[in-house]
């Protein structure tokens, strides 16, 4: 779509054209991944915004990169989709050459190489998580700027600031799969309540040796925290 040159550029607020026609599409979001013994649990909210307009309220931000490797995307929707597509291609090619399942660390390194090389042009914060036979469940975080580090639990996106305290206090090493699912759902719910750019439903994925199980928790089924 193109807009006439009379659209004001000094002041981005222009009554003739709604806010969302002038803003980039962003996944201001909350994403999270947790390792447990035997796999990982990943979660994300489902809101994509263009300024104040919610372009998609049921977005799937958990993108498959390989059979047992997923990534959670945050930042600019266009940038993260493009990077994820590129890495999916590269990883698929690499795994055919190796003739075995790729390592999660390889996928994370590919993300990191691209995010670091093009760091000036990109706005992407990605959490890579999955299971491989060599090291089990792993979570790697590749935030804006292009560093990569492995963490047992990682949160990202605009809503993550609000739940650092909650995650720090409630995470314990060696949680079971069910505990991790509950922990992730509660943390995402708290962030969605406080962050305007996160909301909708909670999408969860569990990756283990057996494969991938996906779940959706709808708005009315979210855990309730009320201070009234």
């Amino acid at each position: 779509m193109s807009f006439p040159a009379s659209v004001s550029t000094l002041n981005n607020y222009n009554d003739l054209y709604p806010d969302w026609t002038q803003r980039e599409v962003s996944t201001g979001t909350t994403i999270m991944a947790v390792e447990f013994d035997g796999g990982v649990v990943m979660g994300a909210d489902s809101r994509t915004t263009t300024g104040a307009y919610i372009a998609n309220r049921v977005t799937d931000k958990l993108t498959p990169i390989h059979e047992r490797i997923f990534c959670c995307r945050s930042g600019s929707a266009a940038d993260t989709q493009a990077i994820a597509d590129a890495v999916t291609y590269q990883l698929g090619f690499h795994s055919i050459e190796l003739d075995e399942a790729p390592l999660v660390q390889t996928a994370a390194s590919l993300f990191r190489d691209m995010c670091y090389r093009y760091r000036e042009e990109l706005m992407a914060g990605i959490i890579v998580a999955g299971w491989d036979p060599r090291r089990g469940g792993q979570v790697y975080t590749v935030p804006v700027g292009g560093m990569m580090t492995r963490q047992p639990v990682s949160v990202g996106g605009s809503g993550s600031s609000y739940i650092y305290g909650y995650v720090d206090s409630n995470y314990r090493p060696a949680m079971s799969k069910e505990e991790c699912l509950k922990f992730t759902a509660e943390a995402l719910t708290l962030a969605m309540e406080r962050d305007g750019s996160s909301g909708g439903v909670v999408r969860l994925a569990v990756i283990s040796e057996q494969g991938v199980e996906r779940q959706v928790i709808l708005g009315n089924q979210l855990p309730k925290f009320s201070t009234v």
């Binding site: 600031s161 909650y166 720090d168 995470y171 090493p173 708290l190 925290f225 201070t227």
Partner: protein, 284 residues
């Protein structure tokens, strides 16, 4: 030429901010306030042990955040205004216009407020001293003699927490373009027990608990999840210390020690929790 070789450190010209974490929680019978102790000017920490919990009255404290100068000044002004509640008479020629006068109709004096009861209930009535007008002593004496018991024109009694909060709010709102400070006012009074008021940029709202400062963003999720109504005093103090510790662990502008003040009907008790006594959370 020497300026180029040794550039002036940034912190000499940066404004001093209490980028901070403050929290106040009510429990049945009082309130608990908590704050960290770091004051920063740019990247330098100019004071690592500042107590940001400032008394406004015996049983009313406020927690400071934002620009250190602005917050301290507001607290001092309101402390001075509330000083008239001390059990001794004071006469002031000029006063801040945030104090509203209340009189009875028999005094034959001009009164500007319309609904006295309404003002009393929402805490605007502070005391019977006038401001900025040269009234003579006879009027003031008549006013003090005729204090009815159902109105809070109490010169000798403790002020209501909502009165103190209203004074803070009035200053914050009136000068909101020039000031950048957020104070949380909390205390105990006879009428409503423990109360917490947030006065961010000039709004005034009473809440079961309030958090503020740069570090408070990181503990929004934690306090939403962990706060329960009807906690005991002990549980409240632990909740405050845990929240401060988590925020100090994630926010670069919060740190140092944790100051905790507990206010109930018997008075205010100040406590300082040193760094090595703070609880430990998962930290890898």
């Amino acid at each position: 030429m020497s300026e180029e070789l040794f550039p002036e450190p940034e912190w000499l010209s940066e404004e001093v901010k209490t980028g901070t974490t403050i929290i106040a929680v009510t429990f049945d019978g009082g309130v608990v306030l908590g704050s960290d102790s770091r004051v920063s000017a740019g990247e330098a920490v100019v004071n690592r042990v500042m107590n940001k919990l400032s008394p406004l009255h015996d049983k009313i404290y406020c927690a400071l955040s934002g620009s250190a100068a602005d917050a301290q000044t507001i607290a001092e002004i309101v402390n001075y205004q509330l000083d008239v509640h001390r059990p001794r008479t004071q006469y002031h020629r000029t006063f801040n216009k945030d104090v509203i006068l209340l009189t009875s109709p028999d005094d034959n004096v001009v009164v500007k407020q319309k609904k006295k009861q309404h003002l009393h209930e929402i805490g605007h009535i502070l005391n019977a001293f006038e401001f900025d007008k040269a009234w003579d002593r006879t009027v003031l004496r008549k006013i003090k003699e005729k204090v009815p018991h159902d109105l809070s024109i109490e010169v000798e009694d403790d002020p209501l927490v909502c009165s103190a909060a209203t004074l803070v709010k009035n200053i914050s709102y009136k000068y909101k373009e020039e000031l950048s400070a957020h104070l949380i006012v909390a205390g105990w009074d006879k009428k409503k027990g423990g109360q917490v008021y947030a006065t961010l940029s000039g709004l005034l709202t009473s809440q079961p608990f309030a958090i503020g400062g740069s570090g408070s963003f990181y503990i929004n999720g934690f306090v939403d999840a962990e706060y329960r109504k009807n906690m005991t005093k002990r549980e409240c103090q632990e909740f405050v210390v845990n929240a401060l510790t988590l925020a100090m662990g994630r926010d670069g502008s919060s740190g140092g020690v944790a100051y905790v003040v507990t206010i109930d009907k018997d008075g205010a008790e100040e406590k300082c929790v040193l760094g090595n006594e703070l609880p430990k959370f998962f930290d890898q």
